[in-house]
Every structure is written in structure tokens, then in C-alpha cells.
Symmetry: C2
Subunit: 223 residues, 2 copies
């Protein structure tokens, strides 16, 4: 019986995700589902990508958190349209939560919708939000064994950002082995090395350029 | 209907947790449920606590992971009795998983059972395993906003280890504010500052002494 209900939950989610996807296609906007552990640096990476991309694209953001609107305030401070979803303890965003907040945006005015999921390297990966792309942000301080120990998130990631590269020398991570492990789980993954600490921002523009290129591809396909 | 079934799952878990707790009381052993994000440093902290505690106590370990037996191998290398539970993608340990592996130990020979949960700062907190104590391990590289953004884990923690203190100067965390935030969520929490990198191990003995004291208390109460 438990299993049946779980299938129900997943079926409901798939239906909402399909609706979201249709809506995103209708308005020709690209959507990215951003996942990673708490403290991987997702919001900081978002902030710096937004600063760079704002010149090129109209971007909007959905922030998923258990509690507080701290992340949404950081994004709003950049003048970016943002909606915060608080899951009230829930461990992931689902497609219905996204569907519910979409009317809060003028979708026709958006090129790129970035969705920052709840900080959790496990559960979010199981829930399709209707997105075009998935990005996993992993802090190198988490250690190189994380891809093989948490394969589900990496398995479906189009893009992996290895973040906090500024403190590489203060960690024991074997970067080459970590990349090999990611590519063994997911040979299609594009891996970027980033850091976005005050005074030391690296790799963010290259990652943002990748997303900008995808936005243009999707627009071209939509014509 | 979903809610009913969720209550069922929680009720089943409570029943198994109560059985586990009875068993732990019968054999007079203390159990600690160790939680934290992926890469918080739970296993490294365990390794160093075990090295210190092995002189004083008989310790056994349960390792919870989505996949691989990497952590169990690290613990076994210290000559410590360890059982690995792979959840096959599941985001937390539950009391039934623990009940199933307990026959693999000689409980009468154990003073302290350390249970390392799946790396996840959200879901494990909802599942009582029958443990006496909860420890949250948080890497200071995760940033100081984590307690307020992920309150559920901190709310029920007896002990919080702020780990990776060796790279404090390479982060932007406000340690005093972080501790204040933890104590606002949970005024009873004991906070320890630790690091356990090769060549720089600090605070682990003080934390381990705290657990050793609790083992002795429990034994005294059992008599």
C-alpha cells in the first residue's frame, strides 16, 4: 500500500511537471533546477551568475528553503524578480509547488528561470519540476567521495559546479579523481570549477555563458 | 489518504524505535544518532573520536549511506566493529533498518553504539532510531546561516560539532552569531569546535569525553 501511494505522489508530480514544461515551452524560457548540499554555495553562485547574466538576459529566480526568506532577500537585493517557497520542513521542491508560484511571474518577459532547490543532495533529484536542465553545486570542502556516495543527484545533472575552489589548497580533495568519478556516473556532465568569495570570483562567467548559450538554443528551437 | 499513510510510516517507526530503545536499555549501552550534510566531516570526526575512545570504551558503529561501503571500510580499518546500511537511494535511516542489523552485534559487549546517518540535514531528523542522544556535525564552510535555514536537525540535537575549524580563517562565517543562532533554536545544545584533518586534530577529545561521561551516567542509571 505504501508503494502504491508513492507511485501516486510520483504520478501527480509527473503530471504537474509536464504542465510546467508545456508552459515553459510556450513562453520559450529555459529553466534550471539547481541542487546541492546545504552550504555548497548555491545562493552565492546564483548571485554572481545573476550579476553577470543580467546584462545579457532577463532572469527570474525561485528560492526553495525549509524556512526563512534569507536567500530570496539576497537575490532581490540584485533587483532580480524572485519568489521564495518555504517547504516548512519538506526536503525538496516538487512540480506542484512550482506550478503554484508561476502565476507570480510575467513569464513572457523571462528568458531564464533559475530554481534553487532545498539544500539536500538526496531527495530533490527524484522530483522532476519540468525543468530543461539540472545543475549540481558541490563544494570541494565536502570531499571527493561525494559523487560515488550520492550518485542520484549527479546521475541526472547536465552541469556540475565544483565550488569554493579558492580554498582548494586547504582541503585534501583529489580533483582529478573527483571529476573522473562524476564522469563515470554521468559521462554527459559538464564540469565547471568555480569560486565566488568576496574578492575572488572565478569560473562563474564561463558557467553563465554555458547557460546563456542554452537559452539561445532553446529560443532558436522554439521558432 | 497520503497523510494517513504518512502517519502509518511514522507509527511503524515509533514502534521499532521503542523496541530498539528497550534493547539498548537492557544491555546498558548508549546510542548516538549522528547527522549532518554530506561532507560535514561526520566520518572523519568518528574516526578520530574512535581512536581516542577505544582506550576507554567498547564502541561499535552503524554506517548509513545511499551507496558504497566506503565509510564502513574506514571504520573497520581502526579495528572497530561496524555494519554498513545502504539505503539504495533512501534519504535517511529508520528504526526498522537499525532493528534489522542489531543481531549482527554482540550488544552485551558494547558500551557505545555510534550511528552515522545518511548525509542529509533534513530528513534524518524526523526519524527516531531509539537513540539516547543526537549529534549534528556542521562544517563551518557551510556558512553560518545553516542553523536558521535547517532548524529541524538542530532543534533536537544534544550536541553540535562545528567542524573543519582548521580552515576558519578561509571562510566568512561569524562563529559567535552561528552559536547564538543554534542556541536560539535549541538552548540545551552543547556546542563543540572541532577539526580532524591530518596533522591538525582539535576538540575531538573534549567531545569524546562528553560521550564517555554520558555512557557512565547511563550505566549508573541502569544499575
Amino acid at each position: 500500500m505504501n508503494i502504491e501511494v508513492e507511485q501516486d505522489v510520483m504520478e501527480v508530480n509527473r503530471a504537474y511537471a509536464a504542465d510546467n514544461r508545456l508552459l515553459f515551452r510556450k513562453y520559450g524560457l529555459l529553466t534550471v533546477n539547481i541542487m546541492g548540499s546545504p552550504g555548497a554555495g548555491k545562493t552565492a553562485l546564483l548571485e554572481h551568475m545573476l550579476k553577470y547574466m543580467q546584462q545579457h538576459l532577463k532572469v527570474a529566480v525561485i528560492e526553495g528553503d525549509l524556512a526563512t526568506a534569507k536567500d530570496a532577500r539576497r537575490i532581490a537585493a540584485l533587483g532580480v524578480n524572485v519568489i521564495q517557497i518555504n517547504t516548512d520542513g519538506g526536503c525538496h521542491l516538487d512540480a506542484k509547488m512550482i506550478a503554484r508560484v508561476l502565476p507570480g511571474f510575467y513569464l513572457e518577459d523571462i528568458d531564464l528561470l533559475l530554481i534553487e532547490n532545498v539544500g539536500n543532495l538526496v531527495c530533490p533529484a527524484a522530483f522532476d519540476l519540468g525543468e530543461d536542465m539540472r545543475m549540481v553545486v558541490m563544494s570541494i570542502t565536502e570531499g571527493g567521495d561525494k559523487p560515488s556516495k550520492y550518485p542520484s543527484a549527479f546521475m541526472t545533472a547536465d552541469v556540475v559546479a565544483l565550488n569554493k575552489m579558492d580554498i582548494l589548497e586547504h582541503t585534501d580533495i583529489d580533483l582529478e579523481q573527483t571529476c573522473a568519478d562524476i564522469l563515470q556516473i554521468n559521462p554527459e556532465a559538464l564540469i565547471f570549477e568555480t569560486c565566488c568569495r568576496k574578492g575572488e570570483v572565478r569560473g562563474v562567467d564561463i558557467l553563465a555563458d554555458q547557460l546563456i548559450a542554452r537559452v539561445k538554443e532553446k529560443r532558436k528551437a522554439a521558432r
